[in-house]
Structure formats: C-alpha cells, structure tokens
Amino acid sequence: MPDAVADFSAVALPHLDAVARVARALTRDAADADDLVQETFLRALRHWNTFVPGSDCKRWLATICRNAFLANKARSEVVIASEDETLEILGAVQVHRDARAMGLDDLFDRLDLGPAIRASLERLEPIFRDVVTLYDVEGFTYEEIAELLMIPLGTVRSRLYRARRLLQEMLLAHAIDRGFAAANPSGPRP
C-alpha cells in the first residue's frame, strides 16, 4: 500500500464512533448502519489523497457517510417533527424547578448518572436520540446535523431541545426512584 495511506488508521479510525452514530441516524437500522460505516471507511481510504492533513477528519468522514447513504438509498426524505423550541426550553426550566423543590438542584453534580443517561437515551425516539447524540456527544453543529440528516435547521433545534427536556425528566424521575429526593421539599417555586 502506498505511503499516502500509511497514517489512515491513526487519523481516520479514531472517528469510527462518530461515523457510526451518523450512520445510525441516517439508516435507523443497526445492520444497515454497520454496512454503511464499513463502506464509509473503504470510500475514505480510496479517496484518502483528497483529505487535507490537519483539517477536520471527523466532518470529512461524516460527509462521506452521508453521501454513501444517499448513493445507496437514492432518497432524501424529510421528516418534520411538530415543534416549539420555546415550549421545550420552558419545559426544561420547569424540570429544574421541580428538581429544586425536591432538593435535587445539584442532581447532575452529585450523582453519577452515566448509566442512567445511556439508558434514557435508548428510551428516546430515534429522531430525538440521533440529534442529541450527534450534538451533545459528538460535537457536530446545528448546521452540520441539518445537512447530514437532511432536515431543516429549525427541526434540529426543536428535536435537540425536546430530547434534552425529555432526558432531564427521565433523569429526575430516576433520581426520585433511587430515593435521592429530599424528604422535606424546599419552599415555593420562583
């Protein structure tokens, strides 16, 4: 193999998790997603000479993944969820008020919620899980997710905010179920 691909493993493979999450979001099928990831890396290898060293490899791979998906499926369906960004934000603020009233204001600082967060993510509908995973875990921007998933920018935001609000509700319920709520809740809500 020529020297041009000598560093492919070191530079590209560390982004497999991100590509896998993009593939899952696009295909909504575990087996199809795995096939797409493999195809993405093979395509990337074949076009490694076009990658600019030092540029953002994760985003380069994500674009290849999206293009491979489109080439395979020849589709670009758009799913638009009902949305109200402000309503979701206010809902999240209400979760905080509820947490504070139950002595759980420091919920996320005090408890190790990693396993509960992963379980809650799995319970989300895929359209919400995909966006919150790509944004909050993988660090793609609103605009990049809109382009990758072929959905409007406003839909990215509304899905992200709803996913966060739902996650907060589930995590608060988890903490209450585990007995972390104060026996004597604090005073009035602001």
């Binding site: 193999m1 691909v5 492919f8 493993s9 070191a10 590209a12 493979l13 560390p14 497999l16 998790d17 896998a20 795995d34 990831v37 493999q38 890396f41 093979l42 290898l45 402000t86 934000i89 206010l90 999240a92 603020v93 905080h96 947490a99 504070r100 204001d105 420091d106 919920l107 996320f108 600082d109 919620l113 990693g114 967060i117 992963r118 993510l121 919150v132 944004y135 909050d136 875990v137 609103y142 935001r157 992200l160 905010y161 966060r164 996650l167 907060q168 995590l171 602001p190």
Partner: protein
C-alpha cells in the same frame, strides 16, 4: 468609541435563550445582554447552571467500547485493502 451597554432583558427573555446561549448559538449582538442579566439574576443563573451541569453529564456519559465489535469489523475490511490495524 464608548462601548454600548446591552439592553436590559427580562427573565423570560433570558430563559428563552437557555439552550441557544449554552450552545454558543446566540448572535454576538444579543450575547452581552444575556451575560449581563445572568450576572445579576440568581434565579436565571441557577437555571443556566443546572442546564450546563446536565449538558456536561450527557457529554461524558457515553460508554467507551460502544462500537468495539464494529471497530474490529472495519479494521478487518481495511486490512483486506492493505491498511494495518488502527
């Protein structure tokens, strides 16, 4: 040039920018007003701190070996193309 003080915002206006502000998605022109409000309003600051702690918990929640088997499969496919394992 004398810096222009941000226009005072209400709690409702600031809370509506909760996620966009934490995501760094608020226009620069509006950011100063939100920051100024948060510095002087314990109630809104508390909402933002709670939301920021939540986001940090989500960012650090993923399992390290979630795609271990897929990683092996892709490495094998690349190896067949002549790339050594990563």
């Amino acid at each position: 040039m004398t810096p222009v003080s941000p226009v005072p915002l209400s709690c409702a206006e600031v809370v509506r920018q909760l996620w966009p502000h934490l995501d760094g998605a608020v226009p620069e022109s509006a950011r100063a007003g939100i920051v100024a409000h948060l510095e002087g309003c314990a109630g809104c600051r508390s909402h933002y701190d709670f939301a920021a702690a939540f986001l940090e918990a989500v960012r650090t929640s993923h399992a390290p070996d979630e795609f271990a088997s897929l990683r092996v499969r892709v490495a094998a496919a690349l190896q067949a193309e002549g790339v050594s394992g990563g």
